[in-house]
Amino acid sequence: MYFKKIGVIGGGTMGQGIAEMLATRGLDVLLVEKTPEKLDYSYSMIELSLDKQLEKWAITQAEKKLILGRIHKVVHLAELGTCDMVIETISEDLDAKRVVFSQLDQVCPSHIILASNTSSLSLTELASSTMYPERVIGMHFIHPVSKVDLVEIIRGLKTSDTTFTETKRFVEEVVHKKGIMVYESPGFVSSRMICLMINEALHILQEGVASPEDIDDAMRIGYQFQYGPLEMADRFGLDSVLAALERMFREFGELKYRPSIVLKKMVRAGHLGVKTGEGFFKYDKDGDRV
């Protein structure tokens, strides 16, 4: 299989990150959003991200232009028929995703891999809305996509070996990240472990054992995390962390997944972390801690 043109559905945080990363690797990207306004916004966010990299000398002006030139704006799924692979990154809503997959099923030739960036939904369930479930697979990128070189490749019940090996080849040889194989299970490996750590940090905070700064320093300095668990939660978005925990709590039924009360309160107050400028810590417009 030859990977040259990739469809990315959804221009949210993950969609932007994936589109930018693919274009940086020299691939052509068709970025899909529901409306031209949303598309323009996503595109401008990618531009902003590239500007930040330019400031850090990671790329040159010419490279920025080349990268942006590879990202094409699309509002109709029907235009994805020529893609060599499609990656869906819309919000974690099973019904909405099912609609997208059944539409892709009509548009893309039956050998084209349809991947979902879901972090917790059932691939098997998603695949069941298509005629060729063997080509449906999970490809879970981690934010920030350009910096984190890990992808969880999730096999649904009916995902074929070919689909898996080609996806793994795509991840490792085309986009140069490490791909790990994961069988379908809520939260897979990465979200399950990290959300539990964040939840435990919140319990520690709630019990008054340590301050937010000290909890973060303990893990950051003590165990070489780039960010401590609370700042990590702020960066993921507290609403996303809450949603992931709730889903795992429902699926596993175990108390350890029950979201901390602190987390619920923060989300209800609209303190969602970096994206609202305030979570457990405060952030400026560029997402830097103040």
Binding site: Y2, K56, W57, A58, I59, T60
Partner: protein, 402 residues
């Protein structure tokens, strides 16, 4: 014998077709934007109009097929059939310690080039694609690889080792390899020919100053030291590369600015040099223009560039215990009158005396720019790396036949 010379980059491919009976170029050209649906081929047959074609060329094999098509086409071609091409010569950036000279391609040579991917991650894989593409299109034609590093393999240990734990050399082959070897080789030999003196008697400093720039001390016809190191970042200040700096700056800046390895690499290779100091351009022509228009930053960029170049000339005179010929070559070296003048002005202690009039003459020919009284010959010699590749290919393939 007709020889096709190929210089393959990751998304481009340059070619020249030589007739070795008189070393004339029958045609040359360039394929750009390989891997995209609008690739551009520019084909220049000698003595006829240029041709430009835009089409989809997804990889190097198609690119070479396209080139062969143009070389043999009834309208733009210069040969009747592909069979007239008797050998292919490839430029390869890194030959590591394996290659002190050019080699005929076989499976062993290919596996060695592949082993060197680590040392030249951007360049050797591209060369490999060029070799494979030529093999696919011309399966029974001998191919020769000519390495940018080969000429410098004659450097002595005390010149190529870095003063760091030796285990790094043993484990990872961390050492000086240099670059532009084909050019330094060619212009030092051409200088000896021009002067009519045996190269074995000469102490030559060759200054290859283009977008990338390096100096080589050539003693008795052999490279004894060169300014580029394990990678092309070391040595002179360049268009966008820093050249020499205190290595402790790297971790310091990474820490202060929270940079990743990639970011700091990109900063030193693409955002430094003339571009960083002038804030205007990486191109010496624009820097010179800026300087002449009174732009202080351009002047500073020029002064630093010239100063660092002159320091290296001084140090290579020390390396060889003297110098009797200085050669300028490549884009900036061949064309920047003012840079050559400024450098030579402060080399009088070596006995250099520039003839300003000769220095001002623009020409594509090898020429002397020092005065009759100068103790050091200062020459400008246009480089011709493709010709060296064609000659080496010719020599090796002739040897194969006999």
């Amino acid at each position: 014998m007709k020889i096709l010379v190929i210089n393959a980059g990751s998304s481009s491919l340059k070619y020249q077709l030589y007739d070795m009976t008189d070393e004339s170029v029958l045609a040359k050209g360039l394929v750009e934007r390989i891997g995209m649906d609008s690739s551009i081929v520019t084909h220049k047959p000698a003595g006829r109009a240029d041709v430009t074609e835009v089409s989809e060329i997804l990889e190097h094999t198609t690119a070479i097929r396209k080139v062969l098509g143009l070389l043999t086409s009834p309208e733009h071609g210069v040969i009747g059939s592909i069979d007239e091409i008797e050998a292919v010569g490839h430029r390869v950036v890194h030959g590591g310690e394996y290659f002190g000279e050019s080699a005929i391609v076989d499976s062993d040579v290919k596996s060695k080039i592949r082993q060197l991917f680590d040392l030249a991650p951007l360049h050797n894989p591209a060369s490999m694609m060029g070799i494979k593409a030529a093999e696919a299109n011309m399966p029974n034609i001998p191919q020769v690889v000519v390495f940018d590093t080969a000429f410098h393999q004659s450097m002595p240990e005390h010149a190529y080792l870095y003063a760091i734990p030796r285990v790094l050399y043993k484990k990872h082959k961390v050492r000086r390899y240099g670059a532009h070897g084909t050019s330094h080789d060619y212009v030092s030999q051409a200088a000896a020919d021009y002067l009519g003196r045996p190269i074995e008697d000469l102490k030559i400093i060759t200054c290859h100053i283009g977008n990338g720039a390096s100096l080589t001390a050539v003693k008795n016809g052999r490279s004894v030291d060169t300014s580029m190191g394990m990678t092309p970042l070391e040595g002179l200040m360049m268009g966008t590369r820093s050249g020499d700096l205190d290595p402790a700056i790297v971790p310091f800046v990474m820490n202060k600015e929270e940079l990743t390895v990639n970011e700091v690499n990109s900063m030193l290779n693409k955002h430094s040099g003339l571009l960083a100091i002038s804030g205007i351009s990486s191109d010496m022509r624009e820097i010179t223009e800026g300087m002449q228009n009174g732009d202080a930053n351009s002047k500073l960029a020029f002064d630093m560039y010239e100063y660092r170049l002159r320091k290296y000339i001084g140090s290579y005179a020390a390396v060889m215990n003297g110098v009797d010929t200085i050669v300028f070559t490549a884009g900036v070296g061949e064309n920047s009158v003012v840079l050559r003048e400024k450098v030579c002005e402060n080399l009088t202690y070596l006995g250099v005396e520039l003839d300003k009039e000769l220095n001002g003459i623009r020409s594509g020919e090898p020429r002397r720019i020092s005065s009759a009284n100068s103790k050091v010959e200062v020459l400008v010699i246009p480089t011709n790396e493709e010709l060296v590749i064609a000659r080496d290919t010719n020599r090796l393939v002739q040897g194969l036949k006999s």
